[in-house]
């Protein structure tokens, strides 16, 4: 997956909510939104896959992927504009999908601050907001 963009010095803390808006490309196989401290250490990898019709979530420690979570609720489609809300808590990440469905993923490595974010694959970010 091509690196769409990367953000450094994000300074997202437990209790903060990140709102991301963007457009899924017509030919997207999948895309991912990644939050952590660097590309090698991710607290939360959020990866909708259109070819498998699944949302895969995972974390990464020193470049090694951990065990996957799979959620078969894929409520958006290629070519559409979507908005995600990712809330960071001390114990988990909670993503609100466009239809209101929520995906949760534990904050396995007890991150208290997220400084890095990247977006890969067929998703073009049009805005992000940190509250």
């Amino acid at each position: 997956m091509a690196e769409r963009f990367e953000i450094f010095n994000l300074n997202m803390k437990a209790g903060d909510t990140l709102k991301i808006k963007g457009k899924i490309s017509e030919d997207a196989d999948n895309f991912s939104i990644n939050l952590g401290s660097s590309s090698s250490d991710l607290a939360f990898h959020f990866n909708p896959r259109f070819n498998e019709s699944v949302i895969v979530c995972n974390s990464k420690c020193s470049k090694a992927w951990q065990s996957e979570h799979r959620d078969h609720h894929l409520c958006f489609s290629k070519g559409s504009s979507v908005k995600f809300t990712i809330e960071m808590r001390e114990d988990k990440f909670q993503v609100k999908l466009p239809d209101g469905h929520e995906v949760e993923f534990p904050n396995r490595h007890s991150y208290s601050k997220i400084s890095y974010m990247s977006v890969k694959g067929g998703f073009r970010v049009t805005s992000f907001k940190l509250d």
């Binding site: 690196e3 769409r4 963009f5 990367e6 953000i7 450094f8 010095n9 994000l10 300074n11 970010v125 049009t126 805005s127 992000f128 907001k129 940190l130 509250d131």
Partner: protein, 134 residues
């Protein structure tokens, strides 16, 4: 100035706009918004100074090529106040970059002839709240 939010691998084309929303800290000495190719090659360094480097209430604009600063350009207007929530809109074409604020806009020549913006960085006493690309 302390390095703030950095966004890389952007693909902003002429005529498109980057909107940066945020808050100027109540004790701000200065802040800067940089756009360009990378940290060493900037189309525009937009640097409002409340009180730093010997400047008071002055906007200093500059470019950077291969790590070397160009010639500074100082603007007469200073439409910023401590604690303000502001929205800065940056766009460009082959000739110049434009910074739009609610009541005033500034131009700065596109000295390096950049054809896209790939890098955005915020420095100093400004807390970014949201960024939009369109």
């Amino acid at each position: 100035m302390e390095q703030g939010l950095v966004v890389t691998q952007l693909d902003i084309q002429p005529g498109e706009c980057i909107k940066v929303k945020g808050k100027i800290l109540s004790d701000a000495k200065g802040f800067a918004v940089n756009v360009g190719k990378d940290s060493s090659n900037l189309m525009l360094h937009f640097n409002p100074r409340f009180d730093c480097h010997g400047d008071v209430n002055t906007i200093v604009c500059n470019s950077k090529e291969d790590g070397a600063w160009g010639e500074e350009d100082r603007k007469a207007d200073f439409p910023f106040q401590h604690g303000d929530k502001i929205e800065i809109c940056i766009s460009f074409n082959e000739l110049e970059a434009t910074v739009k604020l609610p009541e005033v806009e500034f131009q700065f020549p596109n000295r390096l002839g950049m054809e896209k913006i790939e890098y955005l960085a915020v420095e100093g006493d400004f807390k970014v709240k949201a960024i939009k690309f369109h």
